[in-house]
């Protein structure tokens, strides 16, 4: 099988990751902070190292990184713990349902004023448009994705965050699509992400990291492994956002993944996947029936969306599946962007390889579609 759906979840995981997960099941078996055994100490140390590893990539101390079940939970926790009735919220047309749906729910529950920045030319998000919206709308929160999961366009998060900071607006950045591919030290006030995409960790694990001083309130109460005597859930980070037994095997898997993914190697990995994407884009573009939905310029994640005039995206998915090529077709849980791409009816075919792909591998896609 040729697996080209890394933007959904990476596969296969590095052997070190599955080994670390299994080590918990076979040898460790305990939760961090629960008990005093040597194994507990070992597990607690590994979990704290994982927090620090993530914090280092986000430009925040490890103590400000909470583990969640995934980016979706992280986004929900922040939005529900931060937004107050009547708040003004700025977001973008490129958001995933994990941002769009909680915002729409809160819009009803807390009467938010919501402004959605439209796509600029060719699927871009110009800094000037962000600055203008910040100035005229004066939102309390700007929540946005670092990259479109449909087009691969990476937005200028550093400039957006700087503009928001100048305007007194708090920023929540969804790094689900960029963590593992791009530098994340862009100065956001809060980050939400998942372990199982380009970070190559296991599913069922995500993180919420929030700069000190941002007034966000924990949404869950329960066991913490500490401060047992308190009637109230501790308000200190990261415990404030972690209640109940954590997904320790997944955290240990992410620990191994972060160790494998040295930051120095990131540009090389990205360049390899991007070269494969470019080769495929060139091959597909030779067919006049193909429309590539790529940003015209600027940085991109290794994601390529396309449509073909004579075939429905679902038909293309079925043809590729018969050639044992796994891709994603449809709307990719991005409810707003298709209006701008003109792909509301059937969505797109999305190709998203991992760093190990070769151009020769990926050309199987265009070959399977020759008729």
């Amino acid at each position: 099988m040729l697996y080209l759906d890394h933007a959904a979840t990476s596969f296969p995981k590095p052997a070190a990751v599955t080994a670390a997960v299994l080590r918990w099941y076979h040898e460790l078996g305990v939760s961090p902070g629960r008990g005093d055994s040597q194994r507990t100490t070992e597990v607690t140390r590994l979990v704290e190292q994982t927090r620090q590893g993530l914090g280092r990539r986000l430009g925040l101390p490890g103590t400000r990184v909470a583990f969640t079940s995934g980016a979706t939970e992280s986004l929900n926790l922040f939005l529900r713990g931060f937004l107050r009735p009547g708040d003004r919220v700025l977001t973008t047309a490129f958001e995933h349902s994990s941002v769009a749906r909680p915002l729409q729910a809160l819009q009803r529950e807390r009467q938010l004023a919501l402004q959605i920045l439209p796509s600029g030319t060719g699927g871009s998000l110009p800094v000037a448009a962000v600055q203008a919206a910040l100035a005229t709308f004066a939102p309390r929160l700007f929540v946005f994705t670092h990259a479109s999961n449909v087009t691969g366009a990476v937005f200028d998060a550093a400039a957006f965050c700087a503009a928001a900071r100048a305007a007194g607006t708090t920023t929540l950045l969804d790094v689900s699509q960029t963590a593992g591919w791009f530098d994340l030290q862009v100065g956001a006030d809060a980050f939400a992400g998942s372990a199982h995409k380009a970070l190559l960790g296991p599913p069922g694990l995500g993180f919420l990291a929030v700069r000190e001083g941002v007034p966000v309130v924990g949404q869950k109460q329960g066991g913490t492994g500490s401060s047992r005597a308190l009637a109230e859930h501790p308000a200190a980070w990261p415990t404030a956002f972690e209640a109940g037994t954590p997904n320790t095997p997944a955290i240990l898997g992410l620990h191994a993944a972060l160790h494998e993914l040295d930051d120095a190697g990131m540009p090389t990995r990205r360049a390899r996947a991007q070269a494969a994407i470019d080769a495929l884009a060139a091959a597909l573009a030779a067919d006049p029936r193909v429309v590539l939905l790529q940003p015209p310029s600027g940085p991109r994640t290794p994601v390529l969306s396309f449509v073909r005039h004579d075939l429905d995206p679902a038909e293309i998915g079925a043809i590729l599946d018969q050639a044992d090529i796994h891709v994603r077709t449809g709307h990719h849980c991005a409810p707003w962007v298709h209006a701008w791409l003109g792909t509301e009816a059937g969505g797109t075919v999305r190709i998203s390889p991992g760093a190990d792909v070769t151009a020769a591998d990926i050309l199987a896609v265009s070959a399977a579609l020759v008729d």
Binding site: D312, A314, A318, I319, Q322, G330, H331, G346, D371
Partner: protein, 340 residues
Amino acid sequence: MNGRYSRQVRVAGIGEAGQAALGSSRVLIVGIGALGTHAADALARAGVGRLWLCDRDVVDRSNLQRQVLFTEADADAATPKAVAAAQRLAAVNREIEIVPHVADCSAAFLDALPERPQLVLDGTDNFATRYLLNDWCARAGIPWLYAGAVGTEGAAMVVMPAGPCLRCLWPEPPQAGDVGTCETAGILAPAIAAVTAFQVAESLKLLCGRDAEVTRGVFTCDVWRGSYQVVATASAPAPECPVCNRTAFPALVAGAPSAVTLCGRDAVQVDPPRRTPIDLDRLAASLAHAVQDLVRTPHLLRFAADGVRFSVFPGGRALLFGVQDPLRARALYDRWIGAC
């Protein structure tokens, strides 16, 4: 004696004892279309005590030409066939119990019936379900009655638990495009009446305990040519038949084709459990005069029928655009693409 069943009781093979047996019997009819409505009508009037009607489809105007029990009002309201038939039969005979099941006839459905039926009648339009009935009834030790009709021809057969069974005659279901369907070859109502007459008569014998008098062999007819005959079959099961040898019941493990509504789309993907390749050229030829917008590309076959656009792939999977209900998509798949 002018009771409801007085004329039937006078038939030598029935009698008072036979009528009492009918009254306490349980019969499942799978598929309440042309075959199923004819059979259900006859069995309800004959006084079968408990009649279970299973169909996943709704009444359509094109059904009224041959599917008795349904009215124009049923077609206008798209009433589920099982429900419409049960309502009509309740007005015919209120002394019996009639239960509609708006369901896909799967192994899970059959296993979940509150009681075992004594007899199962085939009223289906596809071989996937017939092989399921064959295998399930053999394992349960229940006789079933195969019936089918296309064009002006029909065939029917009693399958006893000891065999020979449908697999003894045809080890595998025919391929999609190999056999005509009512959609491609049409159907003349008397062909339905002829095969269900055989099917119902044999059912009455079985329910009255007259097993020795059951007709052996395959009944075939062509009502246009006026030929009606019973073709003899082997009296013993085929030696290599897995079902009659009780070594395997392939249809019970094959699983049902999956039907999944595509996220955010008005479309369903139907995927057969075993990817049996389909000869798209042959399917295209068989559909040519029955469907619209037929297009064959190197990768797929496209056509429109019943208001739905189909894309069929060589591996057997199909995308159905313009439908959201997976059950309806499977019914349409079986109707237009055939056995899976």
